[in-house]
């Protein structure tokens, strides 16, 4: 696209001249409309609520109080009606008065409630008229109730009075009767005595004859006396009965019987008027009669009491009826109030309903309005143009922008129109520049690709050559050590990179001398490897001639210094050992001094000879020194990759640690010692990358003919190893060493070696401590063999017959106080090995154990 001047635009793109309404203004207009509708809805809601409030107020302030009060009124009258009957069962005036006082309070409370209710009804604007009719009826009932209670009070008072009177009367009557009988009884006795015996008294000398006695006067006297007694008793009995007669109707027959008895008594007494006591008897009897049948007598009192009882019961019944009527009237009142309440509720529900419908309608309107607004207004005014410009920007990103798509937007009179115009101009300019750039870039990319292909080819070539060089270098290092008598040798080099700079060599000079070389080339990688190749071949050929170490180093140095412009150098330690006598003669060219480990002693650096590294000064001289190796002495040659191995924290291994390890491993075989040093080194570096080649050579001067452990390459079968121990607990350390060595030989994990140690320890200890009753010295044999992933261990002794598998396992679950001490060792044997079998064979105990190594 070519550039165009800004003014040259199509005619329909020019903005029209008209009143500009900005985006902000349009926004406010829209919001204003939304707010207006919302406010309208709120006003409507508010009006509905006002009306609703009015109805609610009416309900709570008017209808409900009157209902509440009416119910309380009904309650109160029921309460009073319940108290009233209690009056019938009072026993004293005090009780009656107390009860009446209580009743009085309740009645006053009832009065108050009636007044309250009348106020409520007067204050409300119910539409019913029943309120006016109901209240006077209630008042009347209330008054009647009060009257009834008053009359009841009187009745009960009378009852109480009459009852107490009657009680006195009865006591008096009984008293009279008693006195009467006291007088009659002796007379009757006399009459009876005379009638029966004929004697008038005990002092009487001669009795009257029957003819004399049977005259009418004696019989008459006797029967009259008897009648008096009888009638007196009968009278008192009838009066007692009268005191508890239940009904008035029954009183009359009783009264007649009383009067009949009284007549009979008087008649009998009249027939005895010659009796001197007749007058007293008459007087006493008449008192009795008056108390029973006279005015204020028992019969009279009882009759009156019965009347009052009836009255009281009638009054109580009346009170109940009145209370019931009152309750019914109140119910009616409540119903009326409830009707009023319901009408109010219906009205308020209607108001709610109308309000709801109106709100729903308005909300619907608002929603529709919002949608329309959003769609039409917001869409047209705001979102459409923005989307269009965004689409244009995206199209621009894809380099497909067409100015025509924004034509309408550019025509707008507000800020978005401006945006569209500016954008279009920008896009057109950028497009032009981009096209140019694209073209240039694709040309350059083409060139680069071609160059890369060439580089890759070269790189592959180099990698191939490097791999070949590594293979060659490794082949220079000795694979087999010569089998030197009395001088077990172990050597190991681990390179830091593919090709390394350290090397070592073992050179058989003649039938009694062996040369040991250890060297470290400066630098790393290919240049170091080249120098190493040259150095190692040079020293090998020079040393083979058998000259002394100093001369050898001098000649090698001359050779290396000749063509060496790059100031690369190599440090070399060269020593010759005479294995007939253990003499060592050596020269050191700048290499770190090897360590001498006297048997059982500490590691000491071999004294230096002040020679400099080879390759620097072509006329350098090298002094020699000698030292004498004793039985079991060891020399440890190494390069600085050992002492300068770093761990992740950046600390080096150091000579100190090396000396420590050497001291600890002093008694191990040369292989075990070497392995031990490297293992400790690896444990120390713990994952940090190896920065330099690690090399070590270990030699030992050993003249003893029966080594405990076969040296490398000395046994027939690499997979088998045997250990012989004397029956002495001191041999256990020998066992430990031998097993360490076995661990190296068979490449066993530390855990396996530990467990083997534990198991064999137990068996040996057991045999030594308990197995030999003859107390002599014996041999214990142990054989180990590895077949693939299986390790077989055979233990054999000639101790007394004993099968450890017979011992029961210890009780592992019991608490510390209960544990028996013992049997533990055998448990360990059983647990640590995968299988254990025992046999007694040719007078020997033999245990065959196996362990899987693949776990």
């Amino acid at each position: 696209m070519t550039d165009r001047p800004a003014n040259d635009r199509p005619a329909n793109d020019r903005p029209r001249k008209r009143w500009r309404i900005g985006l902000a203004a349009k926004l406010y207009i829209g919001i204003g409309g939304a707010v207006a509708i919302t406010m309208l809805a709120s006003v409507v809601a508010w009006i509905s609520f006002v009306e609703l409030g009015q109805h609610q107020r009416r309900i709570t302030r008017e209808h409900i109080p009157s209902i509440t009060e009416s119910l309380r009124l009904a309650q109160q009258s029921t309460l009073i009606a319940a108290i009233v009957p209690k009056l019938l069962s009072v026993d004293s005036d005090a009780e009656r008065e107390a009860l009446m006082a209580g009743l009085g309070e309740e009645q006053r409370a009832l009065e108050e409630l009636v007044e309250q209710l009348s106020h409520s009804i007067a204050g409300s604007r119910t539409e019913t008229t029943a309120g006016e009719g109901g209240l006077p009826v209630i008042r009347a009932a209330n008054d009647e109730l009060a009257g009834v209670i008053e009359r009841l009070d009187v009745a009960v008072g009378q009852q109480l009075y009459l009852r107490s009177q009657m009680q006195s009367r009865i006591e008096e009557a009984i008293d009279s009767h008693r006195r009467l009988i006291e007088q009659i009884a002796p007379l009757l006795d006399d009459a009876t005595f005379y009638l029966v015996t004929g004697y008038r008294s005990l002092d009487d000398a001669a009795p009257d004859t029957w003819e004399q006695r049977s005259g009418e006067s004696a019989m008459l006297r006797y029967s009259s006396m008897a009648a008096l007694a009888g009638e007196a008793n009968l009278l008192v009995g009838l009066l007692t009965e009268a005191a508890s007669v239940p009904q008035v109707a029954l009183m009359q027959p009783l009264r007649e019987r009383v009067e009949a008895s009284v007549d009979r008594f008087r008649a009998a007494l009249a027939s005895l008027d010659s009796l001197p006591e007749a007058g007293d008897l008459h007087r006493e009897y008449e008192i009795l009669v008056a108390r029973g049948d006279g005015a204020g007598g028992i019969i009279d009192l009882r009759t009156r009491l019965l009347g009052w009882n009836l009255t009281a019961e009638q009054l109580v019944e009346r009170s109940r009826i009145v209370a019931e009527t009152l309750g019914n009237d109140v119910d009616r009142l409540v119903n009326e109030a409830q009707t009023g309440t319901e009408a109010a509720v219906v009205a308020s529900n209607r108001a709610i309903d109308i309000g709801q419908k109106l709100l729903l309608f308005l909300n619907g309107l608002a929603v529709v309005g919002a949608i329309v607004m959003g769609w039409v207004y917001v869409g047209r005014i705001f979102t459409d143009p923005v989307l269009r410009v965004t689409a244009a920007a995206e199209a621009f990103e894809r380099q497909q922008f067409d100015p025509a798509t924004l034509a309408r937007t550019r025509a707008r009179s507000d800020e978005l129109g401006r945006l569209a115009q500016v954008f279009t101009r920008m896009a057109e300019e950028v497009q032009a520049r981009t096209d140019t750039l694209d073209r240039l870039v694709s040309e350059r990319t083409q060139e680069l690709n071609e160059k890369n292909l060439a580089l890759e080819r070269t790189l592959r070539q180099i990698a191939d050559e490097l791999a070949m060089a590594q293979r060659m270098q490794l082949s220079f290092l000795p694979r087999h050590y010569p089998d030197v008598p009395h001088l077990p040798i172990y050597a190991r080099m681990r390179a830091a990179r593919e090709v390394g700079g350290d090397f070592y060599d073992v050179i058989e000079i003649d039938d009694h001398r062996v040369g040991i070389v250890i060297a470290d080339v400066s630098g790393k990688g290919v240049p170091a490897a080249l120098l190493m190749a040259v150095s190692s071949t040079t020293i090998k050929s020079v040393a083979s001639r058998g000259e002394s170490p100093g001369r050898v180093l001098e000649e090698v140095n001359r050779t290396l210094s000749e063509g060496n412009d790059a100031a690369m150098f190599v440090t070399i330690f060269y020593g010759i050992v005479d294995h007939r006598n253990g003499n060592l003669i050596y020269a050191n060219g700048g290499h770190n001094a090897p360590y001498l480990l006297r048997r059982g002693g500490q590691a000491e650096a071999i004294p230096g000879t002040d020679g400099i590294a080879l390759g620097l000064m072509d006329e350098a001289t090298y002094d020699e020194k000698t030292l004498s190796l004793g039985q079991g002495d060891t020399i440890f040659f190494y390069t600085d990759g050992v002492t300068e191995a770093f761990n992740l924290a950046g600390d080096p291994f150091t000579e100190l640690r090396l000396r420590e390890v050497l001291y600890q491993a002093n008694a191990l075989s040369v292989e075990a010692l070497g392995h031990r040093v490297i293992r400790d080194l690896d444990a120390f570096t713990d994952g940090a990358p190896q920065s330099d080649d690690i090399t070590c050579v270990v030699i030992r001067y050993d003249r003893q003919t029966a080594p405990i452990v076969a040296a490398a390459g000395g046994s027939n079968d690499m997979n088998e190893m045997s250990i012989r121990l004397a029956n002495d607990l001191g041999e256990l350390s020998k066992l430990a060493e031998a097993l360490e060595s076995a661990g190296e030989r068979f490449d066993l994990a530390m855990k396996i070696v530990f467990n083997l140690n534990l198991v064999l320890d137990e068996l040996v200890t057991n045999a030594v401590s308990y197995g030999y009753s003859d107390g002599g010295s014996h041999i214990i044999e142990i054989m180990l063999r590895r077949d693939g992933d299986r390790l077989t261990v055979i233990y054999q002794d000639d101790a007394d017959a004993f099968n450890p598998l017979d011992i029961p396992p210890p009780d592992l679950e019991s608490d510390i106080e209960d544990r028996r001490i013992g049997g533990l060792g055998i448990h360990l044997v059983r647990t640590m090995m995968n299988s254990v079998t025992y046999e007694r064979l040719n007078g020997r105990n033999r245990l065959t154990m196996t362990q899987n190594l693949d776990a």
Binding site: L729, K751, D761, D815, R819, G825
Partner: protein
Amino acid sequence: MELHEETLETATVLSPQGRIDSSNAKDFEEALISRVQDGRPAILLDLAELRYISSAGLRVILLAAKQQRGKQGKFALCALTTEVREVFEVSGFGKILDIHAGRTEALAAL
């Protein structure tokens, strides 16, 4: 076998060095039991430097623990190596004795 001893405020710490097997178990026993019989209130065996222990050694420890318990004293072990720890577990000692990972933890518990 060397036995290092440290007397701290709260406990006596004993650290056997190297190996314990039936050849030197007796020495270990004498040393350990004498500490128990001294009436030390709390004894901690720090086994960080112990590379190897056989059943003879385990018996001694069990004996000491029982005696110490009988005296109402406290007894614990700490810093066992992996292999030594396994021996303890296999023997069932793991459940009976107080074994802690580190010295500070063990001292705090005593």
